[in-house]
Amino acid sequence: MSDAPETPDPEVRDPETRHPETRHPETRHPETRRAIEAVLTAATEPVEPRLLAELLELPVTTIEAVCDELAAAYDDERRGFMLARVAGGYRFQTHPDLAPYVERYVLEGQHSRLSVPALETLAIVAYKQPISRGQVSAIRGVNVEATMTTLLQRGYVEEIGRDPGPGQAVLYGTTTSFLERLGLHSLHDLPPLGDFVPDASVVEALERGLRVSDTPAAATPESLAE
């Protein structure tokens, strides 16, 4: 609301008085660059390169090249905004350096934190999708009903199919909002799960803890007394 329709700013009319564009690295495609900037300014969600290509009637590769140049140029010029590739598309966003100012402006944090159980459940869905609630529960060792409902309502996970086997369990996967929330371009940008496999010392500690025949030292009278 509050949006009084306004007349175009008189100062910026008059395309005749154009300056030569010798100063920008992306000058190879000056009009492409301008059009991309305009569309991304109007966008409220990441704009896919394919859509930009259609709007501008150019090949996707050209769009991607110009966007890359633009992103690098903003970075180089130390702009307060950046051109980011998120959730399959391009968007303008604030530069992380300026977070202190932006946080003060955006008074309410738009996002509430995810709880630890929610994060763990989300991690399992992200790496094991498609996956059923039952399978997530089996990995976590707890009922994940409530947590999954929260994640569904927040729009980070969604139904993406059904298990063909008996029971036809609903299978879940992560959403575009999930990628946006994490600032990732695609699922391929998740750190590999292998990075988190516990290292040898942890494995050894666990193994020792569950060893059936204790080292003699550990077989204390107390433990035998039971």
């Binding site: 949006d3 980011a84 994060l119 060792g141 086997g165 500690a205 020792r208």
Partner: protein
């Protein structure tokens, strides 16, 4: 070595077990299975006694499954002649222990992955996307999202929100893919087990590849043992477990009366009583 559990809130059995085992790396060489089992059972009792935060059925079941496995491990360790370290490494391992280990490692892996996701989220929070959208006159050009919505879709959404919520426990979605219930496993074991010939645990679980199913089948055998329907023999230390039907009880296959259901679908108050049943 008194283990008092200073709790953070343990959300599930793996949380608890990981905490008990990994709580102090300094004590790594002193970690004892006994102490872990005791700590685990103590915490389980505390959780069950805590009326303010009742365990849901699935979680309680999972806690008990792990408790049963731990108690079984401890029982084996207390058998004489088991502290031969060489045998521990070289001879056959106990499936249930390895299963538990595998599940703990998996759980730990995802805990750490969750930490990484959190870090990504925190980083992403440093940037705010542009959301102002197009200015006038473009704004009025955009089709109103409501225009693509039929009144019937609104009705459907209202019904979905206002209608009775499904009771989670009745939802078989989360049971089906695992396909493991102790009751079914008991039936399977009885079917597989010849009347007169003993059979090894390994053969009884041949072809079972899901961890939980393995655990459940093992529990089924423990159940049958508890009821005096089978005998368990181990010919060698760390040898395969041999399961043999007890002739006297063969006729008593009228097992239905026994409340196996408690494993699978009993109402929540099961907790304390069952813990004792398992340990007895």
């Amino acid at each position: 070595m008194p283990y008092e559990v200073r709790t953070p809130v343990f959300e599930g059995p793996f949380d608890l077990l990981l905490h008990l085992i990994l709580r102090q790396e300094v004590e790594l060489w002193e970690v004892s299975l006994s102490a872990i089992v005791d700590g685990y059972l103590a915490e389980l009792e505390r959780l069950q006694a805590d009326a303010s935060e009742p365990l849901d059925l699935e979680t309680a079941t999972e806690f008990l499954l792990i408790a049963a496995t731990l108690v079984e491990l401890k029982a084996r360790r207390l058998l004489p002649g088991l502290d031969d370290a060489e045998l521990d490494d070289e001879l056959l391992r106990f499936e249930e222990r390895d299963l538990l280990l595998a599940r703990l490692l998996e759980c730990k892996t995802f805990k750490d992955a969750a930490g990484a996701l959190d870090a990504l989220i925190r980083r992403a929070d440093q940037s705010v996307p542009r959301r102002l959208g197009p200015e006038e006159p473009f704004r009025s050009l955009a089709p109103d999202p409501l225009e693509s919505i039929a009144p019937s879709a609104l009705r459907t959404a209202a019904l979905r929100m206002l209608a009775a919520k499904p009771v989670p426990v009745v939802d078989i979605d989360h049971v089906a893919p695992v396909r493991a219930s102790v009751r079914d496993a008991v039936d399977t074991v009885l079917r597989l087990l010849p009347a007169s010939e003993p059979m090894s645990f390994r053969s009884l679980v041949a072809g079972v590849d899901h961890r939980l199913e393995l655990v459940v089948r093992f529990l089924a055998i423990l159940e049958l043992y508890k009821q005096g329907m089978v005998d368990l023999v181990q010919f060698n230390n760390f040898g395969d477990l041999v399961v043999r039907r007890l002739q006297a009880n063969e006729a008593a296959a009228a097992l239905g009366a026994y409340d196996l259901d408690e494993w699978d679908e009993a109402p929540a108050p099961m907790a304390v009583r069952d813990a004792e049943e398992i340990r007895s």
